[in-house]
């Protein structure tokens, strides 16, 4: 057990130290100035001096990301249930879902501001648009992938369509839904920051990390910009960790992906 913990922790710590060293070395070798390539020390220093601003912005972004993520999860599941209902629904609706997915959000940003309004509603809409698609595709696949012999069993034992959905198709789709959620969890913070960058500044003082990017860039506070990137990355990790936990909580009893391979 002890030996395993070592194997998990040591390599990333070493590689991390190596990359930081490389960063310092690169800076020393090229002689670039701090406003082009700040050292890790300068980035942490900026993060410290700006920490109140950064944390408040991160909290704002987290709100937008969470709102958009939850909307994507609910709507994604609902759309998947519709698509899973019949083949004609899939062939009839899927192309239009693709249209929504393929339209670059940056193009429709002004329309979103016009309809949803600036600030949080607009940001949530952008986050939703960026993160719902993988949930729909994965969950639909899951609803359709219940084993044929199990479907036969349910039919033969007189299950209603509702029972079949509730006791067979939804549980079968659960791992797929969670995979969709995991992809969406990596996209949601990106979506929220992108949303803030696009529509957040129209709101005036709401802030958010996306808006900070805009502010620090115009002020040429490059170390603070790096610090913003760091915080955004942390936010993403928190989202993914939360979904990974959910995945574990719902699946570890029964799903093969949690099979222990003792050697």
């Amino acid at each position: 057990m002890k030996r395993r913990a070592w194997i998990v922790w040591l390599p990333p710590v070493f590689s991390g130290a190596f990359f930081i060293g490389l960063w310092y070395a690169g800076r020393a070798a090229t002689g670039l100035q701090s406003w082009i390539l700040p050292t890790p020390g300068e980035v942490f220093q900026a993060a410290w001096t700006e920490h109140m601003t950064l944390l408040r912005a991160a909290a704002g972004t987290a709100m937008g990301a969470l709102g958009g993520f939850l909307a994507a999860a609910l709507a994604g599941l609902a759309i998947a249930l519709v698509l899973g209902g019949a083949r004609w629904l899939r062939t009839g609706l899927y192309p239009w879902l693709l249209v929504v997915q393929m339209t670059p959000v940056i193009v429709v940003a002004p329309i979103i501001v016009l309809w949803a309004g600036p600030g949080l509603p607009g940001i949530i809409t952008v986050t939703f648009l960026i993160s719902f698609f993988p949930i729909v595709v994965n969950t639909t696949q899951g609803l359709l992938s219940a084993e044929a012999s199990m479907v036969d069993l349910f039919r033969m034992y007189g299950a209603s369509r509702w029972q079949e959905l509730q006791m067979l198709r939804l549980p079968s789709a659960m791992p797929y839904f969670l995979t969709g959620l995991r992809i969406a969890a990596t996209l949601a913070p990106i979506g929220a920051i992108f949303g803030e960058y696009l529509v957040g500044n129209a709101s005036g003082g709401t802030g958010g990390l996306g808006f900070l990017v805009y502010v620090y860039n115009t002020q040429i506070k490059i170390p603070a910009l790096f610090a913003t990137a760091l915080i955004s990355c942390l936010l993403g990790f928190i989202f993914v960790a939360a979904v990974s936990w959910l995945n574990w909580a719902l699946l570890h009893h029964w799903h093969d992906s949690f099979e222990r391979h003792d050697r």
């Binding site: 084993e147 012999s149 199990m150 036969d152 069993l153 349910f154 039919r155 033969m156 034992y157 007189g158 299950a159 029972q163 006791m167 067979l168 549980p171 659960m174 009893h253 029964w254 799903h255 093969d256 099979e259």
Partner: protein, 258 residues
């Protein structure tokens, strides 16, 4: 035997899927209540299709099929099916899986749990009631699967190569136990298998089928008395019966080559 009305009756039944070639050709067959009938034959002889017809998973193309004195759809209530794979729901415990048919019927939770535990005790898995399928061995999963089928208290039990994926030792044990369970919860069995030895050990009658198109080649009564014990497998008359069925299986395949 002939004074009882058949519980399963095929009259000139044909079956093909869509515009495909015939899978079953002019099947006429009477199965009487209490029989244990094994279907054996080369792959593609339509023996699994025959079970699908009886269970109303697939309609007959032509001819008449009556089950339990009525149509296959109407008879479903008194029928249970055991597939080659255990087909357990992986997110339910062993007890949860055995309960499933009762749950679909709307039996209240406490009652169905009690019945499930009783059935798990019957298949000697009472201690594994709370285990998930992935924690069970292949043989244990099949026991759970059979317990689930028995929870319907079926008059007719259809088994589609249920022990085909198991090792021979496990298979022999389950053969003996299956006959034991049948003593306690009597059912008429239609049993598809690839194993002559298994068919001889279990059945009151063996139907040898031929392929291309699937048809009945020969029927062999097996009149060893029940209860049958493992020692039956060492007796000369058992070997003789195995040899007889093997020979018929051989001629069934030759017929196809000719």
């Amino acid at each position: 035997m002939s004074d009882q009305p058949p519980i399963v009756q095929f009259r000139n039944v044909n079956k093909h899927y869509g515009a495909g070639p015939p899978v079953l050709d002019r099947i006429s067959l009477d199965v009487v209540a209490g029989e244990f009938v094994s279907l054996i034959g080369p792959s593609g002889c339509g023996k699994s299709t025959l079970l699908r017809l009886v269970s109303a998973l697939s309609p007959v193309t032509a001819g008449a099929l009556s089950v339990d004195g009525t149509t296959p759809e109407q008879a479903r209530e008194h029928l249970a099916f055991v597939f080659q794979e255990a087909t357990l729901l992986p997110w339910l415990t062993a007890a949860g899986n055995v309960e499933l048919p009762l749950r679909l019927r709307g039996v209240p939770p406490a009652e169905r749990r009690a019945q499930a535990l009783e059935l798990l005790a019957l298949v000697r898995l009472r201690a594994a009631a709370g285990f998930y399928p992935r924690q069970l061995s292949g043989g244990m999963k099949m026991r759970v699967s059979i317990a689930r089928a028995l929870s319907r208290e079926p008059r007719i039990l259809l088994l589609d190569e249920p022990f085909g994926a198991l090792d021979e030792i496990t298979r022999n044990h389950l053969n003996e136990e299956l006959l034991g369970w049948r003593e306690k919860a009597p059912f008429t069995a239609l049993f598809v298998t690839h194993s002559v030895a298994e068919a001889v050990f279990l059945s009151t009658r063996i139907l040898v089928m031929a392929a291309g198109p699937g048809r009945l080649h020969a029927g062999v009564p097996v009149d060893f008395p029940y209860p049958r014990e493992a020692a039956l497998r060492e007796r000369p008359e058992y070997f003789a019966k195995v040899a007889e069925v093997s020979r018929l299986l051989h001629t069934a395949e030759e017929g196809r080559a000719a």
